[in-house]
Subunit: 141 residues, 2 copies
């Protein structure tokens, strides 16, 4: 019932707000995206267009696979390729009105979820860390 | 009570057994480690010594940071560096006798835990996916 209360909480109360989320644009080059990923330390981040709509996700592994050649990694080609050409277009998303229970279900297979408002605009990131922390606090009580 | 039952389950019942876990040795070169990571698609994996004791974890980002130079990424140097020289020595671990509740607490900050027996030997990997899947099934009942 403490647990029931928790799983009914809205995802907006636990998400990282959009301005604290590392992102890239579909038109950025892969060398820029790789820099953002390695500097932030994140393995994957959302790709947002100018209208703040999530168009995909970019992962360090996707970039490395894009430059792996027969003679090693062609790092110079990173500057000639865009995020859009290698990003995963499967967006892990959840509506801002949804509850934690829905988030737990979706996060079995997704390390993060892009929270979107009614207009489909990106408003924040919900992470497994936030969800597990909330569940753990519930169990402790 | 369904939940209580779940959180008291032993971690061994939910872990991926050792022979199904991608790993590298501390003496492998970074180009081998990068290949294992990009081929498996995992962002981080355990580093095991010959005695099957976990010595650290290796992440794609750690490798990329190790070759980032003023003139771009020096991919040739990957062959001259070992996993041991860049791995994180902070091992996310849990004893095989522990329960899910302990695992949930540790996984707030760790995407996976190395399950170890009494001799400190690696026996399996517990993932956030396994834990969230179990919790979700508990909530549904
Ligand atoms: N700088 C840091 N400080 C402290 N702990 C760190 C950290 N970077 C990573 N971690 C830990 O490692 C987990 C996996 O990070 P990863 O980057 O693979 O996977 C992350 C990343 O892909 C994404 N993410 C998290 N925060 C983000 C942010 N502010 N901006 C963009 N993406 C983010 O969500 C995934 C899940 O994040 P979650 O927090 O559940 O889980 C994180 C967190 O527990
Ligand atoms: N080949 C694949 N097929 C289906 N889904 C995939 C996948 N690769 C990754 N995922 C999904 O992405 C999540 C994060 O993967 P990541 O490689 O960053 O982070 C992984 C990785 O660092 C490690 N890991 C998982 N399975 C492993 C294995 N068999 N061997 C070595 N490390 C493993 O544990 C972390 C958490 O794994 P978890 O399953 O909770 O969470 C995984 C899973 O939900």
């Amino acid at each position: 019932n403490r647990i029931a209360e928790l799983v009914l909480r809205p995802v907006t109360s636990l998400m990282i707000r959009a301005d604290n989320v590392a992102i890239v644009s579909p038109f950025h080059t892969l060398d820029h995206a790789l820099l953002v990923l390695t500097n932030s330390g994140y393995s994957a981040i959302p790709v947002l267009d100018r209208a703040s709509v999530v168009q995909g996700t970019i992962h360090t592994n996707l970039i490395m696979n894009a430059v792996a050649g027969l003679n090693g990694y062609e790092m110079d080609s990173l500057h000639d390729q865009t995020v859009e050409s290698v990003m995963s277009r499967e967006v892990p998303r959840i509506h801002s009105g949804e509850s934690m229970l829905k988030a737990v279900e979706l996060m079995i297979n997704q390390p993060f979820l892009c929270v979107e408002d009614d207009a489909g605009k990106f408003v924040g990131l919900l992470t497994r860390k936030a969800v597990l922390g909330t569940l753990y606090r519930g169990f402790r009580e």
